[in-house]
Amino acid sequence: MIKIGSFFLQKKNFFKALCIIFLPLFITTGYVIHQYYSLKQTQEKINHLIEFSNEVFLKRVAKEKFLSLHENSSPTFIEEQLEPLTFLAKEKDSLNKISSHPAFTNNALLQSRLQKISSNTNKLSFRQESVLKTAQVIESEENLTQIIELDYSELCNLIHLIEKAYIKGKPQFLIKEIEVKASNSNLNNQTLHLTKLNLIKREFKKR
């Protein structure tokens, strides 16, 4: 004890003595800090892994869902589901009612309008362009060939049918470009002109 005391009391040994006293604390504090950061790092890695695992899972589920919907898709979906669609049904109804009235039976303007919206010129018609094929998918561009007149709700329904509707065997459609212009028909009914509708169509083969 005398030797320790003499060492401790020497002025030149003061810092050495302090270092000796605090050495275990320094070492342990270093160890604690190292362990803390090591655990924190592991925790972050695990959290990231869980997040990533969830992401991978969601992607897998989404892929399965997507393929179950679009697999073995019909190559004639446009011809069967889109091109037969007729538009301006409300206007057609009201024009038919008006034209049956004796006062309007020979109204040329009315008849011409009715003929125009009922004819094939107001139906969707697509031209297929730039077809790309892989073992799994056929990707093509389908462009609208003529301007269509339709009202707003019909436009929304059409877009919904193309993009969102879940129909078994429906190819994947992406609207590449759509342009709609407001226009008044001759009879002052508010109609829209669908001037452009370019679609990307992807037909997926059966796995």
Binding site: G5, L9, I21, K59, F66, L132, Q172, A182, K196, I200
Partner: protein, 485 residues
């Protein structure tokens, strides 16, 4: 806590004990000739700090002016002056110092002695089983006594008469400036009075010449009882050197022998000072074993405490680490089970294996399945935009706005030529407005919609004569939105 001052003289030891409030507790004298060892023991058996003092003959006082007020500079100068005082570079020389602030600069007071004097002093005390905690010197003790009990701003000339010797000290502001010691004491006052007076006069003249003819207030302490008569006598004989004041200490009424114990009281008073302010002639080689042992025990206790805290920290950290690692292992195992169920992997984690190895294994397995399916569409669709546009009631809030045309363009998308191509959608709206202010408001309202519109890209705005055109890009859907639309 008590403080005991020990004034060791030929044939007797004078004790003075005070408490930490500086109240005088006890004054005692022990005649050495009668070998009253028991009495000595009784005194220092109290829980007291013992301090003794070196005789005036063993300590030389030297004062030096320091023309600086900077602490660091003063410290350096003192170190230098200490070295220069010990010209023989003798390790046995002890030079202690203290500083006193003066009007413009500082004064350093050096107390010079030798280790052999301290050893002799300690050996003498040892005969009486006294091992003082601290050793100071008579001159310093006297100055402490005078400045506490007989305070005076002028120069004090103190004559302390011991049995066989006399110590003359000039004291100013609590510090001794000069000291002179000669071997004529109380015993010689009757036979060699003239010699004694000559020595005192010699010291007085000498100190006066050094201090530009200063007058000294005379105070006599020590063994002689006729202080007043002696003071009057000396002052009468040398009025050009000494003068006398009558302001005696009030304690003298209570303790008539107060001045006899001047040194021991002074020592005790000095002991109450902070250890850095009080003198200590006991260097490490002479340091009291009791204190060395105490220091050793303190050191060991601190070290043991540090070791204990460290052990506690180490054990605690290890326990927490193991606990956390166990939790992590469980999380990894359950995650691997999920992976196994979903992706039919053959992954098998061993909970007893290293956590890092397991983490690495699982990481690799999950990363294997990360391949993106490129045909999922993460771009906002036209129906997304129209539905949002309708629900936002923009047009209802702006009835004066009339939309003329709307276009949606998917400019970039992952395709068979470029599977990693990002999605990019541009919207263009042509509209009419009653006035430009209304059109601008409509534009501003759209610019605020950060959820749908990519505001980090330009929102283009142009105006023609009849209408306004606004074009912007849409944000893409998140993984979840895109996957399940």
């Amino acid at each position: 806590m008590y403080y005991t001052g020990i004034d060791f003289e030929e044939n007797q030891i004078l004790f003075a004990t005070i408490n930490n409030k500086c109240d005088l507790i006890d004054l005692k004298t022990i005649e050495i000739a009668s070998k009253k060892h028991r009495s000595v023991k009784q005194i220092y058996n109290k829980p007291t700090q013992l301090t003794s003092s070196l005789s005036g003959k063993d300590v030389l006082i030297k004062t030096e002016n320091i023309k600086s007020n900077k602490k660091k500079e003063i410290h350096q100068i003192i170190q230098y002056q200490k070295q220069s005082l010990n010209t023989l570079n003798d390790a046995s020389f002890l030079v202690l110092s203290e500083t006193q602030k003066q009007s413009k600069d500082h004064q350093a007071i050096y107390y010079i002695s030798k280790e052999s004097h301290v050893k002799n002093h300690l050996n003498k005390l040892k005969e009486f089983n006294i091992d003082p905690d601290r050793v100071t010197c008579d001159t310093k003790a006297l100055s402490q006594f005078i400045s506490t009990l007989y305070p005076n701003k002028s120069y004090n000339f103190v004559i302390h008469i011991k049995k066989l010797e006399t110590l003359c000290v000039v004291i100013k502001d609590n510090h001794p400036i000069f000291s002179y010691h000669f071997k004529l004491g109380n015993k010689h006052l009757e036979t060699k009075l003239i010699d004694w007076e000559n020595e005192v006069t010699k010291a007085g003249c000498s100190f006066q010449s050094k201090l530009e003819d200063q007058h000294f207030r005379l105070l006599i302490t020590g063994q002689n009882q006729n202080y007043a008569e002696k003071e009057i006598d000396i002052c009468k004989k040398h009025p050009q050197i000494f003068y006398r004041t009558n302001n005696n200490s009030s304690l003298e009424n209570k303790y008539p022998l107060l001045r006899k114990y001047a040194i021991s009281i002074g020592i005790a008073l000095e002991s109450t000072l902070h250890k850095n302010s009080a003198l200590q002639f006991r260097s490490l080689s002479n340091y009291p074993k009791k204190l060395i042992k105490q220091a050793g025990m303190k050191f060991s206790a601190f070290f043991a405490l540090s070791l204990l805290v460290s052990t506690f920290l180490f054990t605690g950290t290890n326990w927490l680490t193991k606990k956390s690692q166990k939790q992590f292992q469980q999380t990894l195992v359950s995650l691997s089970e999920n992976e196994k169920n979903i992706f039919n992997n053959k992954i098998q984690l061993d909970p007893n294996k290293n956590l890092k190895d397991n983490l690495y294994l699982l990481e690799n397995e999950i990363y294997k399945n990360r391949k993106n399916f490129p045909y999922l569409n993460y771009a906002k669709t036209a129906s997304d935009f129209l539905s949002w546009f309708n629900n936002q009631n923009f047009l209802k809030n702006y009835p004066e706005i009339s939309i003329q045309s709307f276009s949606y363009q998917l400019l970039n998308y992952p395709n068979l030529n470029n599977i990693k191509s990002p999605n990019l959608v541009r919207i263009e709206i042509n509209f009419n407005a009653n006035n430009q202010q209304m059109a601008k408001k409509f534009y501003n309202a759209l610019s605020q919609e950060r959820k749908m519109i990519n505001t980090s890209k330009d929102i283009h705005w142009s105006q023609t004569e009849e209408s306004y055109k606004i074009s912007f890009f849409l944000n893409n859907n998140s993984l979840i939105e895109g996957s399940f639309q």
